[in-house]
């Protein structure tokens, strides 16, 4: 009996001592969540050129119906599966390539910021030139992006070559 009591007392002391140690993981977690917040708040929505505003609004509709399922509402994509549309060269760069991706789809894994995305994108050539111009203008001026509008003439020219 005595043995048990001594063991118990000693164990309790040890447990109390262990509990009293500083709790490091909590501090680390707090620090992380602050970094995430800062990142998000810098992604302020860019203002679009005034002329493109109507196109952007139509594009917003098309985006939510056709694109959001994979690229997500926030344009952030899905890690390793569906590419993000936020501040990438694919979205902000060469418009001909961007229009081409909508018309022909993308069937190869691609790399963005040292990350590989493996899901294919089917062609969206059933969309009209106007719908494609609108949705691309929307994407290029939303999610923190700011780039020139895409016109129906530009879509038409690319479609003629595909």
């Amino acid at each position: 009996m005595k043995k048990v009591i001594i063991t118990l007392t000693l164990s309790i002391v040890v447990v109390i001592l262990l509990w009293a140690q500083p709790k490091k993981p909590l501090a680390t977690q707090q620090k992380k969540s602050t970094t995430t917040q800062t990142k998000k708040s810098t992604a302020v929505q860019a203002k679009a050129p005034a002329g493109a505003q109507a196109s952007i609004e139509r594009g917003r509709q098309t985006y939510s119906q056709v694109c959001a399922a994979c690229h997500q509402k926030d344009g952030g994509g899905v890690p390793r599966l569906n590419p993000p549309l936020i501040k990438t060269e694919y979205v902000l760069g060469d418009k001909t390539r961007l229009i081409g991706i909508i018309l022909k789809g993308l069937n190869q894994p691609i790399e963005i910021d040292d990350e590989e995305y493996t899901n294919p994108m089917p062609p969206q050539s059933h969309l009209t030139d106007q719908q494609i111009a609108d949705v691309l203008t929307f994407v290029r001026n939303n999610f923190g992006n700011k780039a020139s509008a895409v016109t129906t003439a530009e879509v038409k020219a690319v479609r003629a070559k595909t």
Partner: protein, 432 residues
């Protein structure tokens, strides 16, 4: 005064043996592992606790714990040039304090069997001899067991598990969503027969000790599995179990048959008991967990009700809500957890991305109580809180994604996250 000392001396003499025993138990108690504050962010059933075993390792996929407690983790992509991370807890506080790495390939699969560490890239399987000191004998030169496996973007990770008869099982996922003529295209019909099934969309069996095997040396052990990232050998009934990731986008591609909510909820994610020669139905069929049957996919003439050829396909042992992406499966054989958990299945759900406009689901470890390979009760959420948010609307908002599971020699459960590379260790506090 001397009287008192004499008395004390006598007491000390009498109690000395007890003190030495107490000292032994003191050492035991000191090595008793303590959970982190707030269980390192996890919500767990009463009596369980969690601690952060390691952090920020990279894309930590599957995990295995050796009999001496060493932990090996397969990274999807190399970090600092290493594809396998080895962790060791030197000071016995339950957390890793010694990290090293090897292997120049990324991948998902990792396992230990008969003193060999097996690991896979997205095309090959290797193994490393573990010596008497439980160390990898030659980190730079593994034996090449299997090669030339198909890897075409989608579902290209090669998970592995081994049986007790010298065989290794490899998931070769289908490089397609539903074998349409144009993958993921609205209204595109399915190829019939689906040519992908010749070399993927199934589980292949190879010899665990034969070098340089390829398709011709293996057996297509089961077919009609779209992608089974989580698989484990059940030692209680000596059979293979796998977790099917069901097809995506019924609503986006077939709005004439499925509304947005149905597309978010269907099809089920399925647990299969796999016997040689079985067919689980992909891409022709999927499991509807509201109708409780396999039904014909719209790519093959289905309308949400028709069954057709699906009557011959194997049904799941357990069905889960759609799109939650099971990535890890483990049958618990340890002694640390209460009796209820023995031989039951833990499943790591990586979490969904295509349940919009419903909130995304998954991002937890589930448990199915099982006896002799059959469910002995309803599945339940075991460890939750990985996502770090109440409601997941966008995939990017998720903090951690459960992926791999392993059991330690003491019976603790290890869970990997492939977003940041954190490793949780979940213990049961029976000694309280």
């Amino acid at each position: 005064m001397t009287k008192i000392f004499k008395k004390l001396f006598a007491v000390a003499l009498v109690t000395a043996p007890f003190f030495s025993e107490a000292a032994d138990s003191l050492i035991k108690e000191a090595t008793f592992i303590r959970p982190d504050a707030a269980n390192a962010g996890l919500k767990l059933p009463a009596g369980f606790g969690a601690l952060m075993y390691a952090e920020n390792l990279g894309q930590a996929r599957h995990i295995v714990v050796n009999k001496n407690g060493d932990v090996y983790i397969k990274l999807a992509r190399l970090k600092n040039g290493k594809g396998i991370i080895k962790l060791r807890d030197k000071n016995a506080d339950g957390r890793s304090d010694d990290t090293s790495g090897f292997a120049d390939y990324g991948g998902t699969g990792i396992a230990i069997k008969n003193n060999y560490l097996y690991a896979s890239s997205n095309t090959d399987v290797y193994r490393y001899k573990l010596n008497a000191n439980n160390e990898v004998e030659n980190e730079a030169k593994p034996e090449h067991i299997i090669g030339g496996l198909i890897s075409r973007g989608q579902h290209n990770t090669k998970s592995i598990t081994l049986d007790n008869s010298g065989n290794i099982y490899v998931n070769i996922g289908a490089f397609s969503n539903s074998c349409q003529e144009q993958d993921r295209q609205n209204g595109s019909k399915g190829k019939d027969p689906c040519p992908i099934l010749d070399s993927a969309g199934g589980v292949w069996q190879f010899k665990a000790d034969k070098l340089d095997q390829t398709y011709k040396d293996g057996v297509r052990y089961a077919t009609g599995t779209r992608n089974v990232v989580g698989l484990d050998w059940n030692t209680e009934i000596n059979e293979l179990f796998v977790m099917q990731q069901g097809r995506d986008q019924l609503f986006q591609m077939w709005p004439q048959f499925y509304n947005q909510k149905q597309g978010a909820e269907l099809p089920a994610e399925e647990m299969f008991l796999v016997k040689k020669g079985m067919n689980f139905g992909w891409p022709y069929c999927f499991y509807d967990h509201f109708q409780n049957k396999k039904i014909l996919a719209p790519e093959y003439g289905g309308d949400g009700k028709k069954i057709g050829r699906c009557a011959e396909m194997q049904n799941p042992v357990v069905a889960f809500p759609g799109h939650m992406a099971p990535n890890g499966l483990l049958f618990y054989t340890g002694n640390m957890y209460p009796e209820k958990y023995k031989n039951g299945a833990f499943i790591a759900f990586h979490g969904s991305w295509n349940r919009s406009p419903e909130p995304q689901e998954g991002f937890y470890v589930a448990f199915v109580p099982m006896k002799e390979g059959k469910p002995a009760g309803k599945w339940e959420i075991f460890a939750n809180g990985f996502s770090g948010v109440e409601k997941v609307e966008n995939s990017r908002d998720v903090k951690y994604r459960p992926c791999g599971l392993a059991q330690g020699p003491d019976g603790s459960l290890y869970v990997t996250d492939d977003n940041k590379g954190n490793i949780w260790r979940i213990i049961y506090n029976s000694k309280k």
